[in-house]
């Protein structure tokens, strides 16, 4: 198997990032992201939490390059995910809330989709996709169509599709929120283990505090309207204080202002 040459993930620098949308009916601007500053180190695993409508998904879309900033900068290394769209082909991969598999493709063909886009030879595409499907426990289901698989299995295919390019940056948008608790916990563990093994920077967007605290090296709390309320290094908190941390994040989200207890970070 030919290795996909990687230099390791570059840092992510967000400076004064603003994103405005204009309402079609009123013509008024809606602030989706408001002067966001954030630095994400290479190989860091961070969770972004926030209530519905706080700009998490807009940030996600900007990270994958589908939305340009209105003001400020979002740089991955020295490149912009929106401006240097083609450069990031095969370098950023995503797992969505729903599996978003193509229904006309088998598990194998879905998993190898990103490899087709970067133009790897067919044999290598198959080999690489099969390897990842097997690692995710789907070795007996490579030719199954999405409708023939359970929700958890479909999400495994979606995870294989994300890892198959060994991306520098992994983005997961509420990727486990729709699954039952047991399956979600299992998949989350697998996802994190693989992300660490691949040396990818991983950004998980979630509204579940348990998940955020459990998975991330850091938890970034987005408030309304679209501003950074807290940036917490989970490692700085001893495990026995996780309950306090959870309460503090909950307080922050409810009051749209950082809880003083988070200052210990």
């Amino acid at each position: 198997m030919t290795a996909i040459v990687k230099n390791g993930p570059p840092p992510i620098e967000v400076r004064g990032l603003r994103k405005l949308f204009w309402q079609a009916t009123t013509g008024q601007a809606v602030v989706a992201i408001d002067r966001l500053d954030l630095t994400i180190a290479p190989k860091e695993i961070i969770a972004i939490v926030g209530q519905t409508g706080c700009g998490k998904s807009t940030f996600f879309d900007m990270m994958i390059g589908l939305e340009p900033p209105t003001e400020g900068t979002l740089r991955i290394g020295d490149k912009s995910p929106h401006g240097d769209f083609d450069y990031f082909r095969g370098k950023i991969a995503t797992v969505f809330q729903q599996d978003r598999l193509l229904p006309w493709r088998s598990a194998l063909d879905n998993a190898k989709l990103p490899l087709e886009l970067i133009g790897l030879p067919e044999a290598e595409q198959r080999e690489r996709a099969m390897t990842w499907l097997k690692r995710l426990g789907l070795g007996n289901f490579i030719n199954a169509y999405p409708h023939e698989l359970s929700g958890g299995m479909r999400q495994r295919v979606a995870i294989a599709r994300a890892f198959v390019v060994q991306p520098d940056i992994l983005l997961a948008d509420e990727a486990f929120g729709h699954l039952d608790e047991v399956t979600a916990a299992e998949l989350r563990e697998t996802f994190l283990a693989l992300a660490r093994e691949c040396g990818s920077t991983a950004i998980l967007i979630t509204h579940q505090l348990e998940e955020a605290i459990g998975v991330g090296d850091r938890v970034v709390v987005f408030g309304k309207s679209a501003k950074l309320l807290a940036d917490i290094r989970v490692a700085a908190w001893p495990k026995e204080k996780y309950a306090v941390l959870r309460e503090a994040i909950q307080f922050t989200l409810q009051n749209n202002a950082a809880d003083p207890r988070l200052a210990q970070d």
Partner: protein, 259 residues
């Protein structure tokens, strides 16, 4: 866990005898034969409802070349209509302003009766083949265009978003996502257009053509040979069913991923 790969596959469907179809056709034939014998007593001229035997004799005298010519015209025009319709639909999907200008013209074309198109063709073009091709393309092309454009717009936003997140080129986006996503609609559109084309080609061949099933129908009408009219009509219907069956078979094969 769900059953493994091989267990998941549906068994290959074996041929099922079309019992209901045959029974209903048989009943219709019996009814027709009885009607044909009773026609004089009902005040209908005997030649108006020919017996099945007479129709069968007419079918036996049918010239294959006319069938082949009509079939070639239909298939050729459908392929041209499909290519044009799909190409224009793609361009309109990509360019909103192009769509705003072109769509009203397409709607206008679709509102023009087939007979008017035939008359325009006769007035505008000297060549018979071109006239027939023009009429078929101008009638079937817009159906392909509107169907495929609607299908492209119906591709779920989530799938488009997912695809874009992997940063395809425009061509990859179309080939890997849009085209496979609209295949079911393309098949439906083909089935609708086959039926439309068979009917339109017959009318187009009635005017000016010296070959084809439409021309033979015209000759049969001039000779007051009702049995021949029925024979050619049966051929047309059989042709339609055969083409639809072929499309359905390909559809079943290509869309086996559907639940």
């Amino acid at each position: 866990m769900t059953a493994s790969n091989d267990e998941l596959r549906e068994p290959v469907r074996s041929f099922t005898f079309p019992r209901h179809t045959l029974v209903s056709l048989l009943v219709f034939c019996v009814f027709w034969e009885v009607l044909s014998h009773l026609a004089p007593t009902l005040g209908i001229p005997p030649f108006a409802i020919p017996s099945l035997l007479k129709i069968a004799k007419s079918i036996a005298t049918i010239t294959w070349i006319d069938i082949v010519v009509t079939l070639a015209r239909v298939i050729g025009a459908l392929i041209a209509s499909f290519v044009l319709g799909l190409a224009l639909a793609m361009a309109m999907y990509r360019s909103e302003s192009l769509e705003k200008y072109v769509y009203p013209i397409i709607r206008l074309f679709m509102a023009v009766p087939v007979v008017s198109w035939i008359l325009f063709a006769v007035l505008w073009f000297p060549g018979v083949e071109f006239r027939i091709g023009f009429v078929l393309v101008v009638v079937c092309g817009p159906v392909f265009l509107v169907d495929t454009l609607d299908a492209m717009r119906s591709v779920p936003r989530e799938l488009r978003h997912m695809m874009q997140s992997f940063r395809p080129t425009s061509l990859q986006f179309f080939i890997k996502l849009m085209l496979p996503a609209i295949v079911p609609t393309i098949f439906t559109s083909w089935k609708v257009n086959i039926s439309l084309a068979i009917r339109v080609v017959t009318i187009a061949e009635l005017v000016g053509a010296v070959t084809g099933i439409g021309h033979q129908l015209s000759v049969a009408q001039e000779l007051f040979s009702v049995a021949d009219v029925f024979a050619w009509t049966i051929v047309l219907v059989a042709l339609l069913f055969m083409m639809e069956a072929i499309v359905s078979r390909v559809e079943h094969r290509l869309l086996r991923w559907r639940a």
